[in-house]
Each structure stands twice: as structure tokens, then as C-alpha cells.
Amino acid sequence: MSDSKKIGEVILDVKNISLRFGGVKALTDISFNVREHEVRAIIGPNGAGKSSMLNCINGVYQPQEGSISFRGQTFKHMNSRQVAEMGIARTFQNLALFKGMSVIDNIMTGRNLRIKSGLLSQAFRNPFGLGGAQKEEEQHREFVEHIIDFLEIQAYRKTPVGTLPYGLQKRVDLGRALAMEPRMLLLDEPMAGMNLEEKQDMSRFILDVNDEFGTTIVLIEHDMGVVMDISDRVVVLDYGKKIGDGTPQEVRSNEEVISAYLGTSH
């Protein structure tokens, strides 16, 4: 399958990142890159530093050393807003949805970067479409409705996300990221807590996004089946160090990876 799609140039280049929290070395001298349009997986045992890696990329953590380039621009560290503006979106391992808001509103927040009308024009928003705020709102709403259809959560549109079951919350989280129309999507264990059928659906979503929009995907996942099947290349982290990088097949046969992560049964 992967032959049919064009994997492009390096879009994200992570160089020699080191991140420490007091005595804990979460990441040590990590370098890897992501090419345009590919599905790049990051795997590794618990506490290896995978989530921290994503946090460095989108500016939640500031690594002590190293730099990150995105589309040719190099940053020592970035702030979250810049990252978002450059088109990197992400989902979170421990759900970070806006609990008090409805599904629609949660996903609409993903569009906020694109909203042009100002405070006053929003205050004077009216059904007659004067001032533009209403019109803009409708356009974005339409886009969001597509995402809702796509994720099949129509029935929950107006439910506050806090009361949704775990799996649906994960979908909303993805929806919010998709609403940003990102160039690159960072997914932190999007399939945790899903059963097989749901994982299949989710894999389908991810591949669709990747196919249709050419969105580059960086994926953290513990289900090796999923990783092996849908990713183009895999980075393996262990105790903050990179111990493997390559195609799924290469990684699967790497001795170090087997002993640190996969265990013998795989």
C-alpha cells in the first residue's frame, strides 16, 4: 500500500534533544526525522520518554539541549502558539479535552486559529449576518460537521465531553486536532482503551487523514499490531535513549528492541 503514496522530503528534524527534570533524564540526545506524508511511529516501554518527545516538539516542554527544525525553520524551543500556527496539532495521552464544553465546541476550538472576526464583531453577531461573525461561524461549523460525520459522533454533538465514555473522548480529541487542518499530527496513544473493532476504525481514520490530506502523522502506540501495520518508519526509545530507527520490519528484528520492549512472544 505504502508504495502508492508519495513520501516527501524531511519535514521535521529533531536534533540531539536532551530533556531533564531534576535528576530524571527523560530524553538523552535524541535525533530523528519525519518525512512529509509518512506515518512515523514512536514506540518504547513505559516511561521511555515518548510523550515527553511530543511535548518537546510542540513546545509544552523546553528541552535543555538540541534543536528542532520544522519545514526548514530551526528552533531551540518554540512556544505552543507558534507550533500551532505552523500547523502541528496533537492529541494527548491523558485526555486533555475541555470537559465542560460540548463535543461541537471542543472541536470548534480547533478552528480558533482561523477565526478572523474580532471581539466586537462577535459580540454583535446576529442572525442577519451583519458584521461577518455569524457567517464565519457557520463556515467553520460546516467544516466541523464534516469531522463529526467522519468520526461518527453525530449523536453526541451537544453532550458535554466530560460524561462521554473514554473511547469517544479519544475520538473527540482527535477531532479537535483534525479541525486545525494540520500539516502534521502528533498522536499520543490514540487507541488506548479501545477494542479491536474500534482500533480498526481508528487506524482507518488515521490512514484516511494521511491519504486524503497528506497530513504527516507521528504516532505513539503500544499495540504492536497497529504499529507494524500502519507505520512507515518507527523510532524506538528506551530510558530516554534511542535504541532503534527504521522500517517496522527492521525494528521488529532488532535484538535490542526485542529485549527492551517487544518481549519474546512477538
Binding site: S80, R81, A84, G100, R111, L113, R125, E138, R141, M180
Partner: protein
């Protein structure tokens, strides 16, 4: 049975994005507003308007402002009394110092001054959160209390520091009678509530709520915490400032800084919590609860006691009033921790299912 959205299909997003997407709600609200504008002035007594409805309306407006900050943006504040004070005193200064200054612009300018003050004291919110912020906003409260007592300029050199206004007019119509005062407050409230509702259901409102619910995630999707928090402070203190102006000009007529003391701040916070955080409707319920209920209790308790053949002294009435009021707060919270507005919406949900239990 009667309250259903069945059959009301939305064919456009615009229709679905109305303030009240369910037709019954829309009619109910319109009827309510019409009732408030047309019927109440005819039916309500002078006392009801002056002593209950006017303070209720003004406090609802203030609570609405507080709710934007606390309920929507999640920045707990105990400085709202100060914002009211700034609104009131600055409106006063515009009103008396500039000859011929009409009432409405004076109030709006007062609100704008409150905005500036609010944004200034909102700056710490960029670093300080939650209860810590709540207590820190008390700095604004006590500072304002002090400022209006100490700086003569604000009170137009009145030696005691108390000030008063008279001769209120809007477009040449005197705002003297209970009815005119009531209608004026109601009009201001309706307009500002509509604007506030528009804001909270638009992009900016979503930014506020996102910051409230999870600020790190909000930052990751590109929301600037600073912009969101400071706009919330600005909008909220503007509304509170206007409410402060109304409270001083229309309700009290003459006032001293103690009229906007720290207990006003506390009461406003209580209104939004008991009414329902993050709900425009909640501001009204909350104001009703905190402003009107004690007065009602105060008048009803002796009569209830009378039914049992007891007479209560004023002191006993006040004490029992406190106890009953406290008890009711707890009781309502137990019934619905998210406030009266949520209770209301659950009631509606039940109604939607009626007569089936689920």
C-alpha cells in the same frame, strides 16, 4: 409530551446556532422579556420594583459579568466589588465633572474605566491560578476601598467621601419613578446580556472555556492564554462596572465605598456559583437566590412562625433567616452541585422525556 424538539429539523447551521435552538425555549424567553417589559410595570407595586426587582436586575447584570470571568474563563475573582466601585465612581466623575454629560455615556465610560482597572488587576492571572488568584484579587478589592476613601478627587472633594447624584435622564426622560428606573435597568440588562451571550457562544467564548477547562491543551491548539484571560477580565469588568454604575446611580442614589465592599464581591461570587458557573441563565438564578431570597425569608418567616402561634423577635427572625438561607444553599448544592441553571436544564430534559421516566 409538549416540550419536544421532535420535528424541529434544522436545515441550516444558522438555525442550529441560534441562541435558543428549541422553539419552545425561544417563545418562552420572548414571552418572558415581553412580560418583563410590558406586564411587570403594570402589575408590580412600587415596593416590588424599587426594593426587589431593581436590585435583582442590577445584581443579575453584575453576576453576569462575574460569570464571564469565573464561570466561563475559570478565573475566580473576589475583586468584583472593586470593579463595581470603579464603574460607579468613575461614572460619577464623568457625570458631575463634565457639564451636560448624559447618563448612558457616563455609565459606559465608567464601565470602560472598570475595564482598564480590571485588565490591570487581571495581569497576575497570567501566573497565579485558582484559589490563589481569588485571594490575590482581594488586593484589588481592598485597594479600591482604600482609594475611594482616601483620594479626594474621586469623590469630588466631598469631605466625608460619600457622593450622590440626582436628576437622572435618558433622552430627556427623567429616571425618577420606580417604573422608569426599572425599565432602564431592564433595558441595559437585556442588551448587555444579549451581547454577553453572543460572546460566550462565539470563538472568544470557546477560548475562555478552553482556558478554564485545560489551559495547557488550549495553548497547544493555539489559544493565547494571555489574550483569552485579559479579554475575559476586560469584558467582565466592563459589565460589572456598568452594573456598579447602575447600582450607585439608580438604586442607591447616594453611596460610600462601603456600598461596594468586600462582601459585595463575595456575594457576587456566590451568585454565580449557586446559579451555575458558565451559564448566562445562572446569573439570574443566582442573583434571585442571593438578593431576593433573604428578603423573602425575612418577611415570610414571621408569618410562618405565626401559623404555629409563635411570635418572633426581629433578632430571632434575622438569625433564623441566616440559618434557613445557609441550609437552603447546602440543600440546593446537594440536589445539584452545578447550580440552579443545571437543575433547570435537567428539569427540561425530564420534561422532554415526560411522561416516560427515562
Amino acid at each position: 409530551m409538549f416540550y419536544r424538539e421532535n420535528g424541529q429539523f434544522k436545515t441550516s447551521y444558522r438555525a442550529d446556532q441560534q441562541i435558543f435552538p428549541i422553539a419552545q425555549d425561544r417563545w418562552l424567553i420572548l414571552a418572558l422579556i415581553a412580560f418583563a417589559f410590558l406586564a411587570v410595570p403594570m402589575l408590580a407595586s412600587d415596593y416590588l420594583m424599587r426594593a426587589i426587582l431593581i436590585p435583582f436586575l442590577i445584581m443579575s447584570l453584575a453576576a453576569l459579568g462575574v460569570n464571564i470571568l469565573v464561570g466561563y474563563c475559570g478565573q475566580i475573582t473576589l475583586g468584583s466589588g472593586a470593579f463595581m466601585a470603579v464603574g460607579a465612581y468613575m461614572a460619577y466623575n464623568f457625570f458631575v465633572r463634565i457639564p451636560g454629560m448624559p447618563l448612558i455615556p457616563a455609565l459606559l465610560l465608567g464601565g470602560l474605566c472598570a475595564t482598564v482597572f480590571g485588565v490591570l488587576f487581571g495581569l497576575p492571572s497570567l501566573r497565579v491560578k485558582g484559589l490563589y488568584l481569588a485571594v490575590a484579587t482581594l488586593a484589588a478589592q481592598f485597594f479600591a476601598d482604600w482609594m475611594f476613601l482616601r483620594v479626594k478627587w474621586f469623590v469630588n472633594d466631598s469631605p466625608s467621601g460619600s457622593v450622590s447624584v440626582n436628576n437622572l435622564q435618558v433622552f430627556g426622560l427623567p429616571i425618577e419613578s420606580a417604573v422608569s428606573k426599572y425599565l432602564f435597568c431592564l433595558a441595559v440588562l437585556v442588551v448587555l446580556a444579549l451581547l454577553a451571550k453572543n460572546l460566550v457562544r462565539s470563538a472568544i467564548g470557546r477560548e475562555w472555556m478552553a482556558i478554564r477547562d485545560m489551559d495547557v491543551a488550549a495553548a497547544v491548539i493555539g489559544i493565547r492564554p494571555m489574550y483569552a484571560k485579559l479579554t475575559a477580565f476586560a469584558v467582565s469588568s466592563f459589565i460589572i462596572g456598568v452594573a456598579g454604575g447602575l447600582w450607585a446611580f439608580v438604586y442607591l442614589g447616594a453611596w460610600e465605598p462601603a456600598a461596594f465592599g468586600v462582601d459585595v464581591s463575595f456575594r457576587l461570587l456566590f451568585m454565580v456559583i449557586i446559579g451555575g458557573l458558565g451559564s448566562i441563565m445562572g446569573a439570574f438564578f443566582g442573583a434571585g437566590f442571593i438578593v431576593v431570597l433573604p428578603i423573602v425569608l425575612n418577611q415570610v418567616l414571621p408569618e410562618i412562625a405565626g401559623l404555629f402561634g409563635m411570635t418572633m423577635s426581629t433578632a430571632a427572625v434575622s438569625h433564623v433567616e441566616l440559618m434557613v438561607f445557609g441550609g437552603l444553599i447546602v440543600w440546593f448544592l446537594i440536589v445539584e452541585p452545578h447550580g440552579l441553571a443545571r437543575l433547570w436544564s435537567i428539569g427540561k430534559q425530564k420534561l422532554r422525556l415526560w411522561p416516560f421516566p427515562h
